[in-house]
């Protein structure tokens, strides 16, 4: 794996040369500080500018062009990460070594940047059909979130945890704003978007600087805005955890608990936290949570954990039999408490191997390699070679010490209806 950063006036380019793949992964990221209204518009724009442009006026033509150019995926997406928001343009194409067509790579890069620089706009107004289509798609997805008790429970728990923070933000909160958004509003957001800070990551078998030259040739914007890379949001500990119980018509109960994990050193964030999470939950049936809730008490089928590194929090979600919430909460508490002083050597060794195995697994996935370098770039994490050495230095005491920094902040229970359950 060779890694090279090139700083240009209008963008930063990260080239990650891994020649053992047949595909190449291109990701262009527009970055800005978090802003809820911009978030909505950028999410819509990420869809609109990858769905059509002046030369290819609907997705039909875009997809045909992709097929002609051996492009597997071309799409836009949006996410908020800590205190920043990121609008992605992604393209997966076949490595040129496998295609014997003249100008193949040139055509791929021309296609990507033509899509971005020639949006389907007339007199500074986006095409109304294109806008309505993106809006409908987004609203359909967001409305379906209402039907998902897992999403709802986590969303409600995060709102309880930090109601006005970007950590608890979801586009779902902006349904009314989206419904009232006008097509005429969009072009000004497009003009803002293309001026944002731009990072480009290319992962795959690189062709002697050809990609770098093609980006130089086709990159169309004056994106001179520079942004710091710090994305971390700190949330304060709560002396007494906040708790809320709501009733639902669902057959099962969903419990969400949120923990602050503040003041971690880089070593703890990058290495110790993985061991901690493995022993607590991600070792699946061998983890403490699975042992207590599933294996010993048959209370649930799955337990999910969501560490949000940039917000220094950990979320645990478990769906249990309606009526068994108290028992489940007690067992969750016991698992967290045991993490402070009851880790067996067997659990520790298993976590060690899991880390080693995930490091080795990473190099077979182009997506994982791309994420590794994004985490290095934005999160200040180590490169692959350092990781391979450093993870071995973690001790059980390091995990105990981290466990003491994990503090329960929020408990949200969406209580299932026992009567609904008994109807089956």
């Amino acid at each position: 794996m060779k890694y090279k950063t090139i700083k240009e006036k209008n963008y930063n380019l990260q080239l990650i040369d891994v020649p053992n793949f047949r595909s190449c992964h291109f990701a262009l990221i527009f970055r800005d500080d978090f802003d809820p209204k911009k978030a909505v518009c950028y999410a819509l724009l990420s869809d609109m500018i990858t769905d059509a442009n002046k030369d290819l006026p609907s997705s039909k033509y875009v997809l045909r062009k992709m097929e002609d150019n051996y492009i597997l995926n071309f799409y836009g997406s949006f996410s908020n990460v800590g205190n920043k928001m990121q609008t992605y343009i992604v393209c997966d194409y076949v490595d040129p070594r496998y295609i014997r067509e003249d100008n193949y790579l040139d055509n791929v890069y021309k296609f990507i940047f033509d899509m971005l620089k020639k949006p389907l706009v007339k007199n500074n107004v986006f095409d109304e059909k294109l806008f309505n289509l993106a809006k409908r798609r987004l609203l359909t997805d967001l409305k379906s979130c209402k039907d998902d008790n897992n999403f709802l429970s986590i969303n409600k728990a995060l709102k309880l945890f930090a109601p006005s923070s970007p950590t608890s933000f979801h586009l779902f909160d902006m349904i009314d704003f989206i419904e009232n958004l006008k097509c005429e509003d969009m072009y000004k957001y497009y003009e803002e978007l293309i001026k944002e800070h731009v990072d480009i990551f290319i992962t795959g078998g690189l062709n002697n600087g050809k990609e770098e030259k093609l980006i130089k040739k086709y990159f169309p914007f004056k994106s001179t805005k520079k942004l710091d890379r710090n994305e971390v949001i700190n949330h304060n500990y709560r002396m007494i955890p906040i708790k809320k119980v709501e009733k639902s018509k669902f057959k099962q109960s969903t419990i969400v608990t949120i923990y602050n994990v503040n003041n971690l050193s880089m070593f703890e964030r990058e290495f110790v936290a993985s061991y901690y999470l493995n022993i607590l939950n991600t070792a699946n049936l061998n983890s403490k949570l699975y042992q207590y809730l599933r294996n010993e008490n048959s209370l649930c089928y799955t337990i999910n954990s969501y560490p949000i590194d940039r917000s220094n929090i950990l979320i645990i979600k478990v769906t249990v039999k309606a009526g068994e919430e108290r028992k489940a909460l007690k067992l969750i508490k016991k698992a967290f408490s045991d993490m402070k002083n009851k880790i067996s050597n067997e659990e520790f060794v298993r976590a060690y191997y899991a880390y080693e195995s995930s490091l080795k697994g990473m190099v077979d996935s182009i997506g994982a390699i791309n994420r590794l370098y994004m985490n290095m770039y934005y999160g200040g994490f180590s490169n692959y070679d350092i990781k391979k050495k450093e993870f071995k230095k973690v001790t059980i005491d390091d995990i105990y010490s981290l466990a003491k920094k994990v503090k329960l902040n929020t408990v949200y229970v969406l209580k299932g209806d026992i009567n609904e359950r008994n109807q089956d």
Partner: protein, 429 residues
Amino acid sequence: MKEIKIKSSNESIYTFNAPTGLPVYMWVNKDKTNVHMTLTVKYGSSGINFTCAGVKYSVPTGTAHYLEHIKFNIKDQDVSKLFYDLGCDSNAYTSLNETSYEVYANTNLKEVLKLLLDFVYDNYFTKKLVDNERGIILEECNYGKDDPEHEFYRRNVESYLPKSTHRIPVIGYEKDIKSITIDDIALIHDFFYRPENMFLTITGNFDKEELEKVINENEKERKFKDIGKIKINLPKESKKMLEKDFVIESDKCSNTLGKYIIKSMLSDFKGKSKKEVLVSLRALINANFGPTSDFYENVIQNGLATKCRASVTFDDDVVGIFFNVISDNPENIFNLIEEKLNNMDITKEDISRILKKNITSSILRYDNIYEVSGYIISSIIDDGQINDDRFEILKKLTPKKVMDIYKCVDLSNKMTSILKPIKKETIKK
């Protein structure tokens, strides 16, 4: 060891039979770091009735899945822990026609392989194990029941395949899960977890001769009692669907979903093979309803639907053309689908574009060791062998051949269904 050449991607898969008769498939790539091994049993949730040596047997629905759950135990040892201790991840899944046990490893390959073979063949079951797992499986069973889309899907399947055991959920029905016994589990293990009914795949970076040796060593001492010929009895599906049209109203959904299904039988296609029918219909449906079609453009761009996906599937001898729609007015989309179905066409250019798309997917499949395993498993389960037949059929396809096959589809044998939210005013009443 025999080499199978995959022309579409210029790759080779190696195969041999172990001393027990267990077929083994290997794909080696020295650029990869990891290895994916799967041991697949050609027995899934649909095999609830079977005959062995002239005696008929039946087990409750969900037994195949239940066995998969408790399989990770040998003599009071948790197998997933043993794999973990060898530095690898293990998992398993059950589907309609197969149950597969998989490991993802990059170290201790010989030991991992031995353990995979040993534990899947092992017949250690206790009543305690069976009883302990029941609560967990019932929770898994309840997991989808809060989702109206899941219920909508279930009613469609029950209507589309009223006789076939493919209509039964893989996990089984709740009342059956409650009744599964250790005897049911031991029975299907004895009958189906046998080398002649299983196959092993290994993909990734490894020394194929070395692992071949491990397999041969490990298998040569293994003995299996001859139980005679075993046959899964699948009820013969009829062309008829249980319901013609139906609407479900739910207070747990926010979008309106529609399904339009056309059902045919393989026998309708006058001696054509499954593969020919599948490749031809998929090409035709893709050209006329796929994202690059005029139909799709009209429906999506004009806001008639937010999503409209068309697909062609096979369930035993049943051929289904499915349309899944998200739209405020699905009836309108159904009319447009019907109109288009009566005016279908396909050009040489359409076929060549579909072929190009297939080449791209075929090349990129070999970037991922899981996908290669998946490709081998589905080829063996669906076709009984690995070959490039589908690709070769696609290469030789002509518009006339496609339309000749399409003429055999009985467009009148259809079913429509809608899932829609209950309006707020209705709830108030």
